[in-house]
């Protein structure tokens, strides 16, 4: 891949704020996201439901649904300031330079168009590819994601394909115009473990072979562990911790990360019938509070946590956390 980036990250998001102005309240969905992705790097974004993962992804494509808007921050993609681009340029980026793999493949394809038609659309919109060319490329793409007999299957309507196949189609579709950044928003939540494994392997292959930058949004730490290079842990619209994968699992610094890791049931664990849970529920993000958003559920919280928002601070190479009292040792993580 030609590197006109000169070592700069492919995507650089700094201090991103996104909020939704509802009738009687405002949802502060993202409150200062920092994220960068380099070519060939797989960045995992984890966090509980509602922590702002999807909204962040949408912001990168400048597709936050109304009444949401980006209130603050900077998004630089391949040297271009996404927030400042005209809509027409943005359209050229979407689908062509940034590919998106959504969570639920079943509802993400137009039910009244054939698979082929979906490809045709993108190929003609971005690559001016039509007719035989487009057909051949579609077949090639579908074959590359492991759809058997692609030439006939592509004439099918989405509902005739299984979930796993659809997700492959979604991946092929996202890859159709050879994007430089791939965003996968919980791409396997709707799928079975065996299929999930297949899809994720495919994902790894693609990133490796095409030197893509990739963002993998999930709340499954197992997936992150196996398929990401770096992790961003989000909570209540903020980044709690970010680190290389090995680092994060070996030395989680934020109590939330730790809690999350402890929650994950382990296949290898003995049957103890004791489940570690983070008590309480994630906060509503309808108001901007001073202090650490995790404080109400944190056993290490002090008054400082409740009144002052901790900044995201580097605590090691490529390892940063937003916590006044980071966890020092890893004894507590049950493996």
């Amino acid at each position: 891949m030609p590197d006109e980036l000169n070592g700069a990250p492919l995507l650089d998001v700094r201090d991103l704020h996104v909020s939704f102005d509802l009738e009687r309240s405002t949802v502060y969905a993202v409150q200062g996201l920092n994220l960068s992705v380099r070519p060939g790097e797989r960045v995992g974004v984890v966090g509980e439901s509602g922590s702002g993962k999807s909204v962040s992804a949408q912001s990168i494509m400048r597709m936050v649904p109304s009444p949401g808007r980006i209130t603050k921050g900077e998004i630089v993609f391949a040297g271009e300031d996404v927030r400042a681009l005209p809509e027409s340029r943005m359209r050229q980026i979407r689908g062509a330079r940034i590919g998106l793999i959504p969570q639920s493949p079943m509802t993400s394809l137009n039910p009244v168009l054939t698979i082929e038609a979906h490809f045709q659309e993108v190929l003609s919109a971005h690559l001016d590819m039509t007719g035989q060319d487009s057909r051949e490329r579609t077949v090639e793409l579908l074959r590359s994601v492991g759809i058997p007999d692609p030439a006939t299957r592509m004439r099918e309507y989405p509902h005739r394909l299984s979930g796993g196949q659809l997700q492959r189609v979604m991946i092929a579709l996202a890859m159709a115009c050879r994007p430089r950044l791939l965003i996968a928003d919980e791409p396997t939540t709707a799928l079975d473990v065996t299929i999930q494994a297949q899809i994720l392997e495919l994902f790894d292959d693609l990133v490796a072979h095409s030197n893509l930058g990739a963002i993998l949004i999930t709340h499954n730490l197992g997936i992150v562990a196996g398929h990401c290079d770096r992790v961003v842990v989000m909570y209540a619209g903020r980044v709690m911790e970010t680190a290389a994968v090995l680092d994060l699992f070996a030395r989680p610094a934020h109590p939330y990360t730790l809690g999350l890791l402890r929650c994950v049931p382990r296949l290898t664990a003995k049957r103890s019938r004791v489940f570690h849970a983070i008590p309480g529920l994630p906060p509503r993000v309808t108001e901007l509070v001073e202090g650490c958003p995790f404080a109400p559920r944190c056993e290490r919280a002090t008054d400082q946590c409740r009144t002052h928002t901790p900044p995201l601070e580097e605590i090691g190479t490529g390892h940063a956390t937003a916590c006044w009292h980071p966890v020092a040792e890893v004894t507590e993580v049950a493996r």
């Binding site: 979407r94 959504p102 919109a125």
Partner: protein, 311 residues
């Protein structure tokens, strides 16, 4: 397909049989007969002669069987209202007129309503939306078509002299009746389109379409509209028989020698053969529209299978 059609057809036949029997009983139960005179009742012998001539002196079940038998031979009888023609001839003459007006009405009202509904949905919660949905559709619903027809004639024919005050045969004869006839279905269509368009506007796959960098026009036409059409077929499909059988008000107002009036006059005149024929027409139209909208549904929405899952 064949099996489906055959099954639909058989149930339709059954329904038609039951309906015609019911109609037979009904129409003979209604007081007055087709040959009653107003000035003076006819003397009994004269009346008897007439009844004998038209086979009305036989018991009802016999008459029904006779009718059925004739029907099987393709004979619908003689309309008492227009005894110089056959029922089939009358229908063949009048229905095309109604069909043309109806077809134009369907095109105008469905396309017009579709556009209005779409615009309203795309401009959701703006004054355009408000005007289109509330004002236009309320007027369409609250103004009966005979009032609209009367207004149109008063203005465009009598006052301005631009368009004929009714009649049939020239292209300009179509304009006013179609407008008057269209208003109500157009209003309905606009309402439904708006609702179903709004529903899909926020669907996942529409967002995904945008995420693939497709143009807004493409999104609107191929993503929003195409799927918004699906519920419309089931809602507006059954309206088609109504439109294709015309309206007595429109036909009377605009002097269209169409079929619509007969639906009323045949009953008022106790025109038995015509009543039955009209019922058959409605039945066939209904059945056809039902089947067609089923099939259209499967074409527009590939997910649908006819009759769906049975449990």
């Amino acid at each position: 397909m064949i099996a489906y059609l055959a099954r639909r057809f058989l149930t339709l036949l059954l329904v038609m049989l039951v309906t015609t029997m019911l109609i037979f009983a009904l129409m003979h139960a209604v007081p007055g007969g087709p040959f009653d005179q107003t000035q003076q009742p006819l003397p009994a012998p004269a009346m008897a002669n007439i009844m004998r001539k038209y086979g009305l002196d036989e018991p009802i079940w016999r008459q029904y069987l006779n009718w059925l038998w004739a029907l099987l031979h393709g004979d619908l009888g003689i309309p008492f209202e227009q005894p110089t023609m056959t029922v089939a001839g009358l229908i063949a003459k009048a229905w095309p007129i109604t069909l043309i007006v109806g077809a134009c009405t369907i095109v105008l009202s469905y396309v017009g309503g579709l556009v209005m509904g779409c615009v309203a949905a795309l401009k959701h919660n703006t004054w355009i939306d408000w005007v289109l949905t509330s004002a236009v559709s309320t007027i369409g619903v609250a103004l009966p078509n005979y009032v609209v027809g009367f207004l149109l004639i008063s203005i465009f024919s009598v006052k301005l002299g631009w368009l004929p005050a009714g009649g049939w045969g020239r292209p300009q004869d179509l304009i006013l009746p179609v407008i008057a006839f269209s208003l109500y279905p157009m209003a309905l269509m606009a309402r439904f389109t708006r609702a179903s368009t709004l529903e899909v506007t926020y669907a996942d796959y529409v967002r995904m379409g945008r995420a693939r960098g497709l143009s807004e026009r493409r999104i609107t036409v191929r993503y929003v509209l195409r799927t918004a059409l699906i519920p419309l077929i089931t809602i507006m499909g059954p309206n088609i028989p109504n439109i294709l059988t015309g309206s007595i008000f429109i036909e009377a107002t605009f002097a269209l020698p169409g079929l619509g009036s007969y639906f009323t006059t045949a009953s008022l005149h106790r025109d038995y053969p015509l009543i039955l024929a009209l019922v058959l027409i409605v039945a066939v139209l209904w059945g056809t529209c039902y089947i067609l909208s089923d099939i259209a549904y499967t074409i527009v929405d590939p997910r649908v299978r006819l009759e769906g899952l049975s449990r």
